[in-house]
């Protein structure tokens, strides 16, 4: 066990945990931030996507011991009022079906647009392919990312 001092959504948070514990379970079960989802635990579905210093990471595959004081952003902290352009685009396109994958999708999209503000179709397709949606909302996700890119530019 070790003590970890994290910065999550701009807030300092402290917890006691094993260095091997993935950030995902620290966020969910220790800090009560359940917006970040569990889907596979092996970095293959994207449901657990968070930002480390603004860049998308799979929190299920990120042990606490590997963190280096990066600013952690989860879906709960992507925007104060739920009005990040990506979130607004998701509402506009009524993207979710079951909704379970969508926090991860949104975090991936926000990171993609941070790195590639004016993405091509191919950029969107490859940038969003790490996130699985069993409900099959990809066509709406695709359209929503384009809308968000326009809003951001």
């Amino acid at each position: 066990m070790a003590t970890y001092r994290l910065t999550v959504n701009g807030q300092p948070r402290t917890l006691e945990a094993e260095p091997e514990m993935p950030l995902l379970w620290a966020l969910r079960d220790e800090l009560g931030l359940v917006g970040t989802k569990y889907g596979c635990g092996i970095g293959a579905c994207g449901a657990c996507t968070v930002h480390l210093d603004g860049v998308a990471m799979r929190s299920c595959s990120l042990p606490l011991g590997k963190l280096n004081g990066e600013a952690i952003t989860t879906i709960e902290g992507l925007s104060a009022e739920g009005d990040h352009p990506v979130q607004l685009a998701w509402l506009e396109h009524d993207v979710p079906q079951c909704g379970y994958c969508q926090a991860g999708q949104i975090m991936s999209a926000a990171s993609l647009l941070n790195l590639t503000p004016d993405p091509s179709e191919a950029d969107i397709s490859s940038g969003m392919s790490g996130n699985i949606c069993r409900c099959g909302t990809y066509s709406r996700i695709h359209a929503a990312v384009k809308t968000a890119a326009q809003k951001l530019s």
């Binding site: 066990m1 945990a17 094993e18 514990m21 993935p22 995902l24 379970w25 969910r28 079960d29 220790e30 009560g32 931030l33 359940v34 917006g35 970040t36 989802k37 569990y38 889907g39 596979c40 635990g41 092996i42 970095g43 293959a44 579905c45 989860t74 879906i75 709960e76 992507l78 009022e81 739920g82 979130q87 998701w90 509402l91 009524d94 993207v95 979710p96 079906q97 079951c98 909704g99 379970y100 994958c101 969508q102 926090a103 949104i106 397709s125 490859s126 969003m128 392919s129 996130n131 699985i132 069993r134 409900c135 099959g136 909302t137 990809y138 066509s139 709406r140 996700i141 695709h142 359209a143």
Partner: protein, 732 residues
């Protein structure tokens, strides 16, 4: 047909400040309702007082209305579309409506179940009547208050108007009185032409909480003192638990208990929903999901053989043997099929197969349970709460009245959560751990290897054509693990004089069950691919060939029991032909049409080959589901079903080696991804005033046929075996 229950609770008035709108105070979800509602609809001002007018409805003093959504929400959007039915007849402004998920309450609601795309179809009358009944009461209250005849009043957007005296009263001012009045025996419902909410797209009522990551799902549930649990089930079908040494696991950090449970003890009667290959389990209970998942690796467990360890190759051989030589059950016979085949100028024959499919809901199975001596509280994702309650009652020997079940929003269902073994397990674990409140969480591997899989199927079709390319005989013979996929009375039954349908089924110890559009999810693709081949042999355009068959079924149907309406069937095919600009002579696209779950769907699909794999670029889809209650949600369902169907037909497959599933997570199991999915899906609804039918499933089955036919037209190769893309290395 279910009926409206108008028996109301006695007059109830509660203050929002002290927990208004929390009549289901037993649940975690509703206990933070006001907070959740505020996040879902921040622009709404919450009332100070709520009045319960009926089981479906609470009216706030400021006119804001809470509509209860009784059915489980699995992503099929009933939490939006079903309250729309109530709101329409209540005559309120949708902007002033908040929706609250109801828990299981069989006294107030009927059919609280998500399955078979039936929610909207079954609720169409009762929910509108519930809205109309409440409106009647509000009008009656206004008549008393204004001292006029109810006949002089009209309603609009949450107000009752008396035009004669130019007065109006808001529903919020009337609710207290309305709740004391007796409901009418009969109510009149609006004509379809007068709908203001039905038929007008409404966005998902949970969209805001979803995109902001608010707790909605079973997996998100947290309670003070709640612990987490993980199960260990046998590594292979055909094995069972022998002994366990838990000493190492017990001493690991955060671990509170290790228990053994049995969900199928001798002498307890189980139900259809209790499909479970592994009733005897070990469970680890602790203070963090990751810790219990770690600790279970430290368990020393001995397994023993219970029945045969089956492998996919052997199972497939067995099905093939059965198909070739087995004695079938004859499901339908018209005319003299043998004679028709004997005199045919041409016989077309083809055999199709499909593998086991796990459901792979993105939210893995989980459930919260808190079982004490005299009550059990369960919260979680379940499509069949009523059945879960019955099984839990039998296993805990606790009366049903002492068991409460709250349904959470579900991260997908697709049939998996019809079988509530995880809910049962959670209750048994809580009990065995001495009444601790626990949340059972399946890992992805647990979820994929302990499934109720879509069965393996195998079907052979034969068609007899005469010299002029007319279909004179048709024979379908199907088999599968635990069930045959054949629907004897579906198309083309009824269109051909000589017809034979046969079923055979083979048993397995692998647990199987309903998977989005059961049986149709395979047989539609097989049948529609076969008809394409038959049309080609007959020298006809595939759409024209099908329309000829429908003409026959319209003019002079064969047999009495044909499950479909041939005119509506032909209607969607013509609509998709026209909308897609189908080119009869030289179209490189694939076409298919299918009827299931009371709805009709036809598709034209375009693809290109990329690295030897089909990549679907565009789909046109025509749908006849009667009145479209919520066009916004309906489009999403259609698009999702299409993408899901394409993905599973191309890549989905679970195989077994000696009873052990070969695929256990997404490194070896391939689900369709963003770059593989079509981004242009054009949906066209048939305009209709017929009562609405389901949409959660019907767009999936035919797309597999359209895909197979498009592959043929692009490559010249017919595809008979799913998955169409054979497995390769997957990327992480």
């Amino acid at each position: 047909m279910s009926t409206t229950r108008t028996n109301r609770r006695s007059f109830l008035k509660v203050s929002a400040a002290t927990g208004g709108g929390m009549l289901l105070g037993l649940s975690w979800l509703s206990s933070c309702q006001n907070e959740q509602v505020a996040k879902a609809a921040p622009s709404l001002v919450m009332p100070e007082e709520w009045v319960t007018v009926s089981a479906f409805l609470k009216v706030g003093d400021n006119g804001v209305v809470t509509i209860m959504s009784p059915n489980p929400e699995i992503g099929q959007n009933v939490k939006t579309s079903m309250p729309m039915l109530v709101a329409e007849e209540l005559d309120v402004d949708w902007k002033n409506v908040v929706v609250e998920q109801a828990g299981l309450d069989t006294e107030q609601y009927s059919r609280q179940l998500a399955g078979g795309s039936q929610s909207i179809r079954v609720a169409w009358e009762p929910l509108r009547k519930a809205g109309a009944t409440a409106r009647y009461l509000l009008v009656a209250a206004a008549a008393q208050q204004l001292d006029v005849d109810a006949g002089e009043l009209r309603t609009e957007n949450g107000y009752v108007y008396h035009d004669g005296s130019d007065r109006k009263l808001g529903y919020g001012e009337l609710a207290s009185l309305a709740a004391t009045l007796s409901p009418p025996e009969e109510v009149t419902l609006k004509a379809a032409g007068d709908f203001k909410i039905i038929g007008h797209g409404k966005k998902n009522v949970d969209a805001k909480p979803i995109v902001t990551g608010q707790p909605l799902f079973g997996l998100d549930l947290q309670r003070d003192d709640m612990l987490y649990a993980a199960i260990v089930h046998p590594p292979a079908f055909g094995m069972k638990l022998k002994s366990v040494d838990d000493s190492a696991a017990r001493s690991m950090p955060g671990i509170r208990d290790v228990v053994r449970i049995n969900a199928a003890p001798e002498g307890v009667e189980l139900q259809w929903s209790d499909v479970n290959a592994f009733p005897e389990l070990v469970a680890v209970v602790g203070d963090n999901t990751w810790r219990v998942l770690q600790a279970r690796k430290a368990l020393q467990i001995e397994w023993e053989t219970d029945s045969a360890a089956e492998s996919t190759d052997a199972q497939r051989q067995k099905l093939q043997e059965l198909l070739d030589n087995g004695t079938a059950e004859e499901a339908r016979r018209d005319g003299d099929p043998e004679a028709a085949f004997a005199r045919a100028a041409q016989v077309v024959e083809a055999t199709y197969s499909a593998p086991f499919l796990p459901h792979n809901t993105m939210e893995p199975m989980n459930f919260f349970a808190h079982v004490t001596a005299d009550k059990a509280e369960l919260v979680g994702p379940i499509q069949t709460p009523e059945f879960l309650r019955t099984t839990v009652s039998r296993l805990l020997d606790l009366p049903e009245e002492q068991i409460s079940i709250m349904m959470t929003r579900m991260g997908g269902g697709f049939g998996r959560r019809l079988y509530g073994n995880f809910g049962v397990e959670a209750a048994l674990i809580s009990e065995a751990a001495g009444g601790l409140p626990i949340k059972l969480v399946y890992s992805r591997e647990d979820d994929m290897t302990q499934g109720t899989y879509r069965p393996e199927y195998l079907v052979r079709y034969r068609a007899a054509l005469d010299e002029d390319g007319r279909l004179i005989g048709f024979h379908v013979r199907g088999t599968g693990t635990n069930e045959s996929p054949v629907f004897a009375n579906r198309f083309p039954a009824g269109t051909v004089d000589n017809y034979l349908a046969e079923n055979l089924s083979s048993e397995t110890n692998v647990s199987t069950g309903a998977w989005r559009a059961p049986r149709s999810n395979f047989i539609a693709g097989a049948e529609q691919a076969f008809l394409d081949e038959v049309a080609e042999a007959a020298g006809k355009d595939p759409i024209a060939f099908r329309l000829e068959l429908f003409d026959r079924a319209i003019e002079d149907p064969v047999g009495e029991e044909n499950d479909y309406d041939a005119e509506r069937y032909a209607g969607v095919l013509k609509l998709v032909r026209d909308k897609s600009g189908w080119n009869t002579n030289d179209d490189k696209r694939g076409v298919a049409a299918y009827y299931c779950h009371n709805s009709y769907v036809a598709q034209v699909l375009e693809l290109e080959m990329k690295n030897d794999e089909p990549h679907v670029t565009e789909v046109h889809c025509a749908v006849d589901c009667g009145i479209v209650v919520n066009p916004e949600g309906a489009l999403n369902q259609i698009e999702g079903g299409i993408t899901d169907g394409i993905g599973h037909a191309l890549y989905g497959q679970l195989t077994l080696t000696d009873g052990v599933p070969d695929q256990q997570n997404y490194d070896t199991y391939r689900l369709i991804r963003h770059n593989e999915a079509p981004h242009a899906i054009h949906t066209h609804f048939v305009e209709s005033e017929t009562a609405p039918t389901g949409l959660g499933e019907p767009s999936l089955p035919p797309v597999i046929g359209a895909l197979a036919n498009a592959v043929y037209r692009q490559t010249g190769q017919r595809v008979y075996r799913q998955p169409f893309v054979q497995p390769r290395e997957l990327r992480g």
